[in-house]
Structures are given as structure tokens and as C-alpha cells.
């Protein structure tokens, strides 16, 4: 087969089928005319390598064919900044969740730290690859649907975050969001950690109050997750931020108070441990939990006051 035919066959393969015949006919005429012109100038037929050079000048078949397609890129320059923005947020969320899960595994499970590290590392990459593919696909579809023309028409500079909005660092926000997500997923049984809830001669059982407050705890955690997301992504929603800060703190303190009143939050059950040691361990564990409950309560009050103070300052300013 003639080299020009082979070249045109390769171009045709990548062309839109409906226009292929017409385009190939035009390209063939151009290439043949060009070849004849050179032959006339040289006074002899072109050698194979000269035809090859002529075709190379014309361009790679895939590039030549691609120029006939209306879509020249997967994600164009108008969409790319939005793609990059979403990608950065997505990477932060994924890394945050996987690191939080990894830390929980390292602290609470029997797995060796190196094993946890390897698992977390693998999990981060797998999650990143899958989500990068999904986000890229979504934005490729958006590119074809005409985004971001409508968004650019509607946006207003007033929607931009206030410079005085003292926002948390991205990592702080991401850690809180990821920790909230992981807790909800664990609390609802979607994910499980191989917790070290037992020793060689004892096991730990949560007190009934924890099960009785299943829904309130879930509701408060979900509300705090929403609050953290709004704090991070929509700092201009001041009224919502203030209301959520007060609401989650009051509800959270209420739930904490109910838990605190129980006075006993976990029980050490002996599976061979002497009774005096069981009592000692039980006392130490519950003292630790008591301190943790108080610390969480104080932190929540402090965070709520911080948000409210910030909002008052912004209103005055």
C-alpha cells in the first residue's frame, strides 16, 4: 500500500465518522498535489524517504485528525481553575479522612505501627486515584455542557470571604471535618476499627448510658460536622454560623451533661484478672473518661464563644 494511503488511513481512523470521507478526499488531493509539485521541481519521482518527509511535515495523523474535532481538550482553560479548586479540597478531605482513620487504628488497634502506616499509605493513594478520576470525569462533562458561563454571570464580589474573617487553617478544618466523618461512620457501623477493647485477662464494656444516647450523640456530631463545613466553606453565612455554634454547643453540653451524670461510662469485666486489679483499672479508666468529658465540654464552650466573639466583631466593624 502507498505510504500516502497508509497515512490517510491512520488519519481517517481518528476522524468523526460522519465527515471522514469528505475530509480524507480533501487531504488526499492536497498531499498528491504537493507530491506532484515536488516531483515536477526535481524532474523525477519522489523516493520513499522523501514522501515520508513530506507526510511528517503535514503532521502526526492523530494531531491532524484531532483538529477536526469540536472538543480540543478534556478540561479547558475556563473550567480548569474550578477543577483545580475542587481537586485541592478533595485531596485535603481524602488525606484528612485517611490520616484520621490511620491515627485511630494506630492508637486503638492491635496492629503494628508499620502495618498501619502501610495500610494508610495504600488507602490514601487508592482513594486519591479513584476520586481524581471521578472529579475529572465530572468536570469533563461540565466542560462540554458550557460551564462556567452561567456561574461567571451570577457570581458577585460580595460573596467573597471577608479579609477580617479569621478562618481556621485548612489542615485544622480538614482534621475536624475528617474526624467528625470518621466518628459518624464508625458510630453508625459503616466502618469498623479492630479496637483493643480487651486485654489477655479483661475486656471493656461501655456503660448503658452510651447506648441510650445513641441518637443524640449522632445528631450532635452530625450538626458539628455541618458547622465545621460551613465555617470552612461558607464563612460569609454569619447568621447560620452563629446559630449553629450556639445550637451545637447547647445540644452538645446537654448530651455531655447526661453522660456525665451517669458517673460510670465503662466497665472492666474480668476474664481472669484478680478483682482488686479490676477495680483499680475500672477506677482509672472512668477517671480518665471523666476528665475527657470535662475537657470536651470546656473546648466546646470556648469554641462557641470564639465564633460568637468573631461575629460580634465583624458586625461592629
Amino acid at each position: 500500500m502507498d505510504l500516502i494511503d497508509r497515512y490517510l488511513h491512520a488519519v481517517r481512523w481518528a476522524l468523526p465518522a460522519a465527515k471522514a470521507d469528505d475530509i480524507i478526499a480533501e487531504l488526499r488531493d492536497d498531499l498528491v498535489t504537493r507530491k506532484e509539485d515536488r516531483e515536477e521541481a526535481l524532474g523525477r519521482p519522489l523516493a520513499k524517504d522523501e514522501v515520508s518527509a513530506l507526510l511528517k511535515e503535514f503532521g502526526h495523523p492523530l494531531i491532524v485528525a484531532a483538529r477536526y474535532r469540536p472538543q480540543q481538550w478534556l478540561i479547558g482553560p475556563d473550567v480548569f481553575p474550578f477543577y483545580l479548586f475542587v481537586m485541592r479540597i478533595m485531596v485535603l478531605i481524602i488525606v484528612g479522612i485517611d490520616v484520621a482513620v490511620g491515627v485511630a487504628r494506630a492508637v486503638f488497634s492491635d496492629q503494628a505501627p508499620l502495618q498501619v502506616l502501610a495500610q494508610t499509605w495504600g488507602s490514601v493513594w487508592m482513594s486519591l486515584l479513584i476520586n481524581l478520576a471521578i472529579v475529572t470525569l465530572v468536570f469533563a462533562v461540565m466542560e462540554r455542557s458550557g460551564f462556567p458561563a452561567e456561574h461567571l454571570r451570577k457570581w458577585r464580589p460580595e460573596q467573597l470571604p471577608d479579609i477580617r474573617d479569621k478562618r481556621k487553617s485548612q489542615w485544622e478544618s480538614m482534621f475536624e471535618i475528617a474526624a467528625g466523618l470518621v466518628f459518624i461512620l464508625w458510630w453508625t457501623g459503616v466502618i469498623q476499627f479492630p479496637f483493643r477493647s480487651a486485654g489477655p485477662d479483661f475486656r471493656i464494656e461501655p456503660a448503658p448510658v452510651i447506648f441510650q444516647l445513641y441518637w443524640p450523640i449522632l445528631a450532635v456530631t452530625a450538626a458539628r460536622l455541618v458547622q465545621n463545613l460551613i465555617e470552612w466553606l461558607r464563612p460569609r453565612w454569619k447568621a447560620v454560623r452563629g446559630a449553629l455554634a450556639v445550637l451545637t454547643t447547647v445540644a452538645g453540653l446537654g448530651v455531655l451533661a447526661l453522660i456525665y451524670q451517669a458517673g460510670h461510662w465503662a466497665t472492666i469485666v474480668s476474664t481472669g484478672m484478680p478483682a482488686d486489679k479490676v477495680a483499680e483499672l475500672d477506677k482509672a479508666l472512668n477517671l480518665g473518661l471523666k476528665i475527657a468529658i470535662i475537657v470536651v465540654g470546656v473546648i466546646w464552650v470556648f469554641q462557641c464563644l470564639q465564633v460568637l466573639w468573631q461575629l460580634v466583631r465583624e458586625r461592629r466593624g
Partner: protein
């Protein structure tokens, strides 16, 4: 290739890319087929990448700025292009814009002359 030349080449290609449409529209006030159009552009000092010319012609035709027809010449079928009525109007507007840009650039760079 030294960095400066590489950079200059990129900027030059960018600068010429926009002007090629104007050149193609201008050249097609006279009916031509692809090969002769490319030759006339080259003779005028505006060579165009071979693989880019035909897709550009198709795009301009789809936009209504060119018309085309297949006709036999020198015992071969060739696709002839020429400027449409709408294309003439757009060309006039683009030429006005081109001249305005040229004057602005000259004014801005006067002291460099």
C-alpha cells in the same frame, strides 16, 4: 535552542495565531482551494501549519464565514472555498479592529522606534 529564542518562538506563534484567521478570510475574497490558499499565504509571508489549515477552513465554513464546493480542476476533484456575504462583513469588522490594534501598539511603542 537557547531559552530566549524558545520563548520568543512561543510568543511569536501566539501572536500570529490570531492573525491567521484574518489572513485566510482576506485571501479568500478570491476563490481558492486549500493547496493554493496555503501557497498564497506563504508567498505573503504568513506560512500556516499544513495540518491546521483545513480544520480552520471547516470551522470558518461551519461559522458561515466561508462557502465551499467540490469542483474538478486539472482532472482532480478539489474543494474550493470563498468568502461568504457574512464573511465579508466580519472581515471588514476584523480589519477595522486590526488597524485599531496596530495604531495602539504603534502609539504605545513610539519611543522605541
Amino acid at each position: 535552542m537557547p531559552i530566549e529564542e524558545d520563548l520568543f518562538e512561543k510568543l511569536r506563534v501566539e501572536l500570529r495565531r490570531g492573525s491567521l484567521i484574518l489572513a485566510v478570510l482576506g485571501a479568500l475574497r478570491v476563490e481558492r482551494y486549500g493547496y493554493t490558499l496555503r501557497q498564497s499565504l506563504e508567498e505573503a509571508g504568513l506560512p500556516i501549519d499544513e495540518g491546521a489549515l483545513y480544520p480552520l477552513l471547516r470551522r470558518l465554513e461551519a461559522q458561515g464565514l466561508l462557502t465551499s464546493e467540490w469542483r474538478e480542476e486539472a482532472k482532480r476533484n478539489k474543494r474550493f472555498y470563498r468568502l461568504s456575504h457574512e464573511g465579508e462583513e466580519v472581515l471588514a469588522q476584523l480589519l477595522g479592529e486590526w488597524n485599531a490594534i496596530s495604531e495602539s501598539i504603534l502609539r504605545l511603542t513610539e519611543r522605541d522606534k
